[in-house]
């Protein structure tokens, strides 16, 4: 399946979702969108729609699970929570980002 051009973006989005769920606990789709918008203003203001396919993908990979529940204003909503596998994935991603950042820093400083 061809991935749209925002492939790089997907990776970042996945990370943000996992981090959000890890920090904030179970949330519904809109809540996650709000939180991520707070963190990365430019990224998601344009298209909240990319969130839902991402949530589906994360579900298929087994990093988050979903359950239907009742929201604070008594409406039906789907709540997502991170799994153990998801937490491990988060740690791994965080590590690799840090290593990458450290490497780039070294390159920039050396010259």
């Amino acid at each position: 399946m061809k991935l749209p051009k925002s492939e790089v973006m997907y990776g970042t989005l996945d990370l943000l979702v996992l981090k959000t769920l890890n920090t904030m606990g179970p949330m519904h789709g809109w809540g996650i969108a709000q939180r991520i918008q707070q963190i990365s203003e430019d990224l998601l203001r344009v298209n909240q729609g990319t969130l839902y396919p991402a949530l589906l993908r994360l579900q298929q990979r087994g990093w988050i699970t979903a359950k239907w529940g009742v929201s604070d204003n008594n409406r039906k909503a789907k709540y997502y929570s991170i799994t153990r596998a998801g937490q491990k994935q988060l740690e791994q991603e965080a590590e690799s980002w840090e290593r990458m950042a450290a490497l780039i820093n070294r390159v920039l400083e050396s010259a």
Binding site: M1, G49, T50, Y52, P53, Q59, Q60, T65, K78
Partner: protein
């Protein structure tokens, strides 16, 4: 670990409703937030939707992730296809009808294949049941019965079989229930029903004791007989039937599905007499066997051959030189018809290919017209795969609609077939009643429709999806030659259509000719204006030989006296219908035949007017006379081939011979011309005619020659018989021609079906050529205008177009004629020599196809020749 898969499955099952709800929730929350931030309600909602960025795209991407994308795409394609079809009704109707013809023909014939060839009998484990034949390499009968003694030995010693049973068909006179009736009976050993796993509807099966002489007066009747002749009384068990003047107690009723041997009305225990058990040479019984678990047919066959070889060494006189052959019951039951049915199936496949070629052509033409539309869609982002998928879906929708219409055609075909088979024949073809459109046939139709869609749509789909976007968009018209690849493909399709059509036409022509040849064959006697009927004298009242002889003598005398009767005769077996009663001949003065020497001849017991009634020419000596009766010297008339075989170049008159198993010597007094044994195969068997007065039989046929219209004699003859014996039923009252017709009905039906298929093929091929030529003319209109402007005359244009068609025709014939020849040679052995390659047929049908094809090309060619050059030049 399983969670993600379950989630996925659950999402799939919930469908998209969950997603819609989620998105709705999201929009509402965002709207609330916007209102809280100070926007007006409508603006708030609008901004919320905008922020979500296109619900449809979101939905699509989710679908992609979910994998339900394919399904929703398919639904969309189907809707689109239906719209397109509505827009071009002409194309749709022609395509659907063409496919309907092709698919319908296949469905119709497949339902026959399914019932008669694949599932002729409803026995569980049908694959394990075989018929065991005893054959002799140069004996007269291919299908061989065996003797009871051999059967017992086989049963005891064969380890390859779980069990074996023997049976013999017979007739029994039913009296005491109104009109006397002749029932189709079958004598069976006690293993018969358990072997076939047949459970009675009422009552029980035979027990082992009941096959001992003395205990065998019990009967099991068929459901049909129980319902039609007895009125289906619940208390039928224990009721008594008078069969051949003996009382039998009904102990069971078999359900209608247990139709084996086909047409049986009553089963009786086979209780062999001591002579029957001893006489190893009297071969009257057919044997069924059930293979032991895990034993293959080949292994069983080898084992039985070895076993029979042992028996041959033990009893060389009877068994030497004979072998055993196993034929699966499924094949045995449809033996004659299955080959013709399979040939028809092959023909139907040809017709389908033709139909697909036509529809492919139509779709190619249409795809050319839709090039712009497809190019635009591709430019807008539809992938090549998607476009191809969509075109194939269109093809599939056409096929499925065609399949539905085709099923209607198929059901007409099935009804026609079932009504054309005479009831006497239909009774004996297992499962003919089961031919209908049922589950397997529907599945098959679906499969064929899918295949047809693939075949007919692939060419167009692949071509349409070819890259060359900008060129297509820019191309305003086919000013020069249109896509040459596509026109080559079209030509190829026409060539293959011509090839297919000629094969079918020649095949049908050969079959029709073969059938007519069979129908016209001189059988050795005059079969017109003959009335026949069967009379069986019950043992209880006609025990002595003189009683039998006396009865027939009196009947014949009375019959002769009837008005309209030219002559009357009696015979034990009617000629030319394939019935066989053969035995070994022993010649006086010659050493007894060695084991392996098969001196076999058909034996017939006849009255003195037999040769005169049937108009069989007498070649030497005299015919049998009234004086050849008991007390006088025993006389016999032999057929030509007997004389040639045993007394070549000598005078056979006054020689003596006897039938093996009998001690009476007969003296040859005359030689008669040979008679064809079987209407299907040209074979004249050696026959010995003995006077019934000197060797009476209980079962005889009466044959009467009428001045004209033999049917009118029937009431008179029945009355004559009734006046001698009122309790005697008469069966099978039919004219000889009717009997021959009945036996030929199978081939006649096949030939008719073949001609129908060939006619469809001719129409399809003609339509195909016409369409391609017409299209080609349209495409080349501009070019034609140029040519005409440059000086080409009308005739030149005509010649050009027709010339192209002729070239395609020749190419098709070049492929098709050799194929037709090869297939004819193959078929002739496959269908018992009915089809024989013959030059006249080849030439005639080639000429027919050529004429039709050129005519089909002529119409658009004439249109092209009539073009006004100025209009043509301006045509774009």
């Amino acid at each position: 670990m399983l969670r993600p898969y379950l989630d996925r499955l659950w999402s799939l099952l919930r469908g998209e409703r969950g997603l819609d709800e989620e998105l709705r929730f999201h929009v509402e929350k965002q709207t609330e937030a916007n209102i809280a931030a100070g926007m007006a309600p409508e603006e708030a909602r609008r901004q919320a939707l905008l922020a979500l960025g296109g619900i449809d795209k979101t939905r699509e991407e989710c679908r992609d992730a979910l994998g339900t994308r394919l399904l929703s795409d398919f639904a969309q394609d189907v809707r689109y296809a239906l719209r397109q079809m509505r827009r071009s009704p002409g194309f749709t109707i022609v395509a659907v009808l063409t496919l309907a013809l092709g698919i319908g023909a296949n469905s119709g014939i497949f339902s026959t294949v399914n019932a008669v060839v694949l599932h002729p009998l409803p026995f569980p484990h049908l694959n394990e049941i075989v018929t065991v034949w005893e054959i002799a390499p140069n004996a007269l009968d291919e299908q061989a019965r065996t003797s009871f003694a051999n059967f017992l030995d086989w049963k005891q010693q064969a380890r390859a079989f779980r069990d074996m049973a023997a049976y013999r068909r017979a007739e029994r006179n039913l009296t005491g229930q109104g009109e006397p009736l002749v029932l189709r009976a079958c004598l069976v050993t006690p293993e018969f029903f358990p072997l076939l796993e047949g459970e009675p509807l009422l009552g029980r099966k035979f027990s082992a004791e009941e096959s001992q002489r003395g205990n065998e007066r019990v009967a099991i009747i068929s459901q049909g007989f129980w319902q039609e002749h007895l009125g289906a009384p619940r208390g039928v068990i224990g009721q008594s039937l008078s069969l051949n003047e003996s009382n039998y107690a009904i102990i069971g009723v078999m359900p209608a599905e247990f139709d084996f041997p086909p047409g049986t009305q009553v089963w009786l225990p086979l209780a062999p007499t001591p002579e029957q058990i001893e006489q190893r040479g009297e071969r009257q019984f057919l044997v069924l066997g059930r293979l032991a678990p895990g034993v293959s047919l080949a292994a069983a066959g080898a084992q039985m051959s070895a076993l029979h070889a042992r028996l041959a060494r033990q009893y060389p006189f009877y068994n030497a030189g004979r072998d055993v052959r196993l034929v699966p019951l499924r094949e045995y039951v449809s033996y004659g018809s299955r080959r013709f049915i399979l040939v028809l199936m092959a023909a139907a496949v040809f017709v389908l290919l033709l139909a697909c070629a036509n529809v492919a052509n139509l779709q190619l033409a249409r795809a050319a017209a839709r090039q712009k539309e497809i190019a635009v869609r591709t430019a807008l982002g539809a992938g090549r795969l998607r476009v191809t998928r969509q075109l194939l879906t269109e093809s599939l929708v056409l096929s499925l609609i065609g399949a539905l219409v085709g099923l209607v055609f198929a059901s007409w075909m099935i009804n026609y077939m079932k009504n054309s088979v005479p009831p006497d024949i239909a009774r004996h073809v297992a499962a003919l009643k089961q031919v209908r459109i049922n589950g397997p046939v529907l599945l098959f139709t679906l499969f064929v429709a899918a295949l047809a869609a693939m075949v007919s749509g692939l060419a167009a789909a692949l071509h349409a999806a070819s890259p060359n976007l900008s060129q297509t968009l820019r191309e305003s018209s086919g000013t020069l030659t249109p896509g040459s690849g596509r026109s080559r493909l079209r030509s190829l399709l026409v060539v293959s259509e011509v090839a297919l059509a000629i094969v079918l036409l020649i095949g049908a022509g050969l079959m029709a000719k073969g059938f007519r040849r069979l129908a016209d064959t001189y059988l050795g006697f005059d079969s017109s204006n003959l009335l026949t009927m069967r009379v069986t004298l019950p043992e209880s009242r006609y025990r002595e030989a003189y009683q039998l002889a006396d009865f027939f003598e009196r009947v014949l005398l009375r019959a002769q006296a009837l008005s309209g009767v030219r002559s009357a005769a009696a015979v034990s077996h009617l000629p030319a219908l394939g019935s066989s009663a053969s035995s070994t001949i022993i010649i006086d003065g010659r050493p007894a035949p060695r084991p392996g020497d098969h001196w076999q001849a058909e034996f017939r017991y006849v009255s003195e007017d037999y040769f005169r009634t049937l108009r069989i020419p007498l070649l030497r000596g005299r015919s049998l006379e009234a004086g050849d009766r008991s007390g006088a010297r025993r006389a016999a008339v032999i057929s030509e081939s007997v004389a040639r075989r045993f007394w070549p170049g000598q005078n056979p008159l006054e020689q003596r011979l006897r039938r093996s198993g009998s001690a009476d010597w007969f003296t040859v007094v005359g030689v008669a011309a040979d008679v064809q044994h079987d209407w299907l195969q040209v074979e004249r068997r050696p026959t010995v005619y003995l006077p019934y007065l000197q060797a009476p039989e209980a079962r005889m046929f009466l044959v009467l020659r009428a001045a004209d219209n033999p049917v009118r004699l029937a009431p008179g003859v029945r009355a004559a018989i009734r006046s001698i014996d009122p309790d005697l039923p008469v069966s099978q009252v039919r004219t000889f021609e009717q009997r021959l017709d009945d036996q030929r009905s199978g081939i006649r039906l096949s030939a008719t079906h073949m001609m129908l298929l060939a006619a469809i093929a001719l129409v399809l091929a003609a339509a195909g050529i016409y369409a391609v030529m017409a299209y080609s003319v349209t495409q080349r209109t501009h070019e034609i205008g140029v040519r005409m402007a440059l000086g080409a005359s009308r005739r030149d244009v005509l010649a050009m177009i027709v010339g192209k068609a002729a070239r395609l025709l020749l190419a098709g014939l070049a492929v098709g004629l050799p194929a037709a020849l090869a297939l004819a040679v193959l078929a002739s052995s496959f269908v018992f020599g009915v089809v024989q390659a013959d030059a006249a047929t080849f030439i005639a049908f080639t000429a027919l196809l050529a004429a039709v094809a050129l005519l089909a090309a002529y119409v658009p060619a004439r249109r092209a020749a009539r073009l006004d050059p100025m209009t043509a030049l301006r045509y774009e």
